[in-house]
């Protein structure tokens, strides 16, 4: 791994001001780098600010402290070098699959024919061939998340940001989607940052797992995942995999339990 640093997060902090209530510190002094083509996941209990960090990296939220750099350039707003895959249904319900996948390109004023040709390529990669003219409400949850991933890939970002993309799916569909995401990642060579609360998902997909602590979110530990690639679902039963998942779980268990009591 001698590739250049693609994403650098340098001393990011975020405090949310609230009217009539004390401010909430969501993130404190986050520092990390991700190399070109690397797959990194962030796990942490709810309230660890991991979703906020992803939005700061995407440029949707301004940080209170620190700077995010992509290829050395500081980030101040969303740009085509980054694309986000959201957890919730964020597809436009009145647009077809093809129009949704081409959405980012049409916003960037790419000529229509070119936008749809590019969209078609990622529709094929995401296994959506034959569903181009369907509307989101006609698709299953798993299919809709494929559209979501294809839409993000279509703008040809350098970094793909995924915000718990499979959280709303059932366990079986989630596993299939994980292997599909891996093969898409291998085919496109994108740099990926994934937020998840599924520890096994993080270990299965990533080169490194970053474990967050909660309130305020800080980096507790970075855990390399030295498992061989390509990976398949068999891997999840290996002793090495299970012990990695266990290590991470022990790091966040206390906070997950504390979070349960609060709610």
């Amino acid at each position: 791994m001698t590739e250049a640093v693609r994403l650098a997060v340098d001393g990011i902090g975020k405090t949310f001001e609230r009217r009539g209530k004390p401010p909430v510190e969501a993130l404190r002094d986050i520092r990390m780098t991700i190399r070109e083509g690397e797959f990194v996941s962030i796990v942490g209990a709810s309230g660890s600010g991991k979703s906020t960090l992803l939005r700061i990296i995407d440029g949707l939220i301004a940080p209170s402290a620190g700077v995010v750099r992509v290829d050395g350039r500081p980030v101040s707003k969303p740009g085509r070098d980054r694309a986000m895959v959201f957890q919730q249904d964020s597809l436009l319900p009145w647009k077809t699959v093809a129009e949704n996948v081409a959405y980012g390109l049409t916003l960037a004023k790419v000529p229509k024919a070119e936008a749809f040709a590019t969209a078609q390529k990622f529709i094929d990669i995401a296994g959506l061939k034959g569903f181009e003219q369907h509307y989101p409400h006609q698709l299953s949850g798993g299919m809709r998340q494929r559209v979501n991933v294809a839409r993000a890939l279509a703008v040809d970002p350098e970094i793909l940001l995924l915000d718990e993309p499979f959280a709303a799916l059932d366990a079986q569909t989630r596993e299939i989607m994980q292997t599909e995401l891996l093969s898409i990642w291998q085919a496109t060579g994108k740099t990926v940052l994934l937020i998840t609360h599924q520890i096994d998902e993080a270990v299965f997909l990533s080169d490194r797992v970053i474990v967050f602590s909660a309130r305020p979110g800080t980096i507790r530990r970075e855990i390399p995942v030295p498992l061989p690639r390509p990976r398949d679902l068999e891997l999840k039963r290996s002793a090495e995999f299970v012990s990695l998942v266990d290590t991470i779980w022990k790091l966040i268990e206390a906070e997950v339990r504390a979070g349960l009591k609060e709610e």
């Binding site: 969303p78 009145w94 409400h137 703008v155």
Partner: protein, 261 residues
């Protein structure tokens, strides 16, 4: 047999919709016929057949055409203008918090004032004829459009806006590709209510200040106790209401098919 009929009527097809309308109008006609056989005072109620004869007579002597063109022209023009104004005010309210906070209460106060009751005042101000009809219909029809436009624009799913922003969309692009399309079916449902209100507005305006139109015809027929003619014109208004309602409901469904499932 009855069960299969129910299943057919529940279908989401045009034939089934037409059948539903036919069955309900048929039922009304039957009840009407029965009641008019019990109530034999023809000043109070006339049977459907006599109303049909009166309507045919109106068509034959050209009165129907005069009245229909007066009412339809006035109501359609003022309805279209009220939709345009309503959407514009709704847009302004949804895009400015200050405007919504200061103008909102005034609008809801105006909305609860029985504007119809002010019809004589408007006629005194604007005279007999088109202007007073125009203003009165706009005043009654504009509010549902304002309310649904603002509500629709504010209701947009936050994740949809966030996704658009994530693709670096400009505020204008967010409006044209997310907020407005999302609000459109809401607006159409307001338009549907506005149409019904516009019909009431036009009739009242014609009661007080005109020499043609359905409202005028209803008033003059009732003054001569011509119940058949009164009911005939009421039916014409009902048909216009039904037509608008069916049309806008279809449009709403077409604009937002995902809401049906």
């Amino acid at each position: 047999m009855a069960r299969r009929l129910f299943e057919f009527l529940e279908q989401d097809t045009r034939t089934a919709a037409a059948a539903r309308v036919l069955i309900s109008t048929g039922a009304v006609l039957v009840v009407w016929q029965i009641v008019s056989m019990i109530v034999t005072n023809r000043l109070l109620l006339v049977p459907p057949a006599e109303v049909a004869v009166a309507l045919a007579h109106e068509v034959a002597d050209g009165a129907m055409w005069t009245n229909a063109s007066a009412t339809v022209t006035a109501v359609v023009t003022s309805f279209v203008v009220s939709v345009v104004i309503g959407v514009a005010i709704g847009l302004a309210l949804a895009s400015s918090r200050i405007l919504s906070l200061t103008g909102g209460p005034v609008l809801s106060a105006l909305n609860s004032v029985p504007i119809i009751a002010l019809a004589p005042l408007f006629i005194a101000w604007l005279g007999l004829g088109f202007a007073s009809k125009f203003v009165l219909v706009i005043l009654v029809a504009v509010f549902p459009v304002v309310v649904t436009t603002e509500a629709g624009l504010r209701a947009t799913d936050k994740p949809l806006i966030e996704a658009a922003r994530s693709f670096n969309a400009t505020p204008w692009q967010i409006f044209t590709t997310v907020t407005f399309p999302y609000a459109l079916p809401f607006i159409v449902s307001g338009v549907r209510v506005a149409w019904a209100r516009a019909l009431v507005g036009i009739v009242v305006a014609e009661f007080f200040g005109s020499f043609a139109g359905f409202g005028y015809a209803i008033l003059s027929a009732s003054q001569t106790f011509d119940t058949a003619r009164v009911l005939g014109y009421v039916i014409m208004l009902g048909a216009m209401g039904l037509l608008g309602s069916v049309l806008f409901a279809a449009l709403e469904q077409r604009l937002a098919p995902w809401r049906q499932e």
